[in-house]
């Protein structure tokens, strides 16, 4: 059995119990997906209590739609699609989405500040680095993976537009596959990679600042 087959049969067992009204089954799903749902909802509205309402709202819709769920996607993906819809609706109503004019969005298309490279027309080093790139291998491992470093990671995500924040959260923190995120966001695989790359590049920049300031 492939991993998706395993997932599908676990899904159908869980669904059967859920439809039969098992509170234990509900508790299991809530404990597996609830924390990630809350985290994702927070990325849309940047407010913990609003995010909690969104997660509740999503569950009302999930339970209400249970009989219509046909298993064409995994249970997890289906739940998160519903969550995303609830979150976007709510964010629009509350006008908490990050505006398009956000400075982070406009500069997102370059992974590195263009000023850090020689011009493409440079006679000797076209498009080569003109600035220093720190060697993190010289940093002690416990500092690279410290609680402060993961805090800096999260703070960087919180500044990203929601779509970018959702992609990096699900891929790199929650460990979702590229296919799962592509299905969830209904984007092309290329688009998913672009969103992920830009989000990672932005987080890397924040970490450069963080490790740089720490060294001084």
């Amino acid at each position: 059995m492939s991993s998706s087959d395993v997932e599908a049969s676990a899904d159908s067992a869980l669904l059967e119990r859920l439809r039969a009204g098992s509170e234990d089954a509900f508790g299991e799903i809530v404990d597996s997906y609830g924390p990630a749902m809350l985290r994702v909802a927070t990325l849309y509205v940047r407010d913990r209590s609003l995010a909690q309402e969104i997660v509740q709202d999503a569950w009302v819709n999930v339970l209400g739609g249970l009989d219509g769920f046909e298993g064409r996607s995994s249970l997890k993906t289906w739940i998160f699609v519903i969550l995303g819809n609830c979150a976007r609706r709510r964010a629009e109503r509350e006008q908490r989405t990050i505006p398009f004019a956000d400075p982070h969005e406009s500069s997102l298309d370059a992974s590195v500040d263009p000023d850090q490279f020689f011009a493409a027309t440079h006679p000797r080093w076209p498009g080569a680095w003109s600035s220093v790139v720190e060697d993190w291998r010289t940093l002690p491992e416990d500092r690279l993976a410290s609680a402060e470093a993961t805090d800096a990671f999260r703070a960087a995500i919180a500044k990203l537009p929601a779509r970018y924040a959702v992609v990096i959260t699900l891929r790199d923190i929650e460990g979702w596959s590229a296919d799962e995120v592509t299905t969830l966001l209904d984007v092309s695989p290329e688009n998913q990679r672009v969103l992920l790359h830009r989000a990672r590049a932005r987080v890397r920049m924040s970490l450069v600042d963080y490790f740089g300031s720490e060294a001084e």
Partner: protein
Amino acid sequence: MIQSEPLSCREIVELVTDYLEGSMPPGRRLGFEEHIAICPPCRNYFDQFRHTVELGKKIEEEQLPPDVREALVNVFRDWQKDAR
């Protein structure tokens, strides 16, 4: 194999996720690896990028706060009542 144009550093930094995801054509992949092998700043950038990805994996999932979980169980109970 078709030899593609050599990649500049500025191009390399945009291709790291494509490389890590295994979504580059073989010729491009080779060009990327050759560049990284001879370019110390790009090697450092690549290493920083990989560390960034690894750091994300180390962020631990917190549990739901008890009151949030309780509220969700109530959603379930209400749904059940309505279903009967």
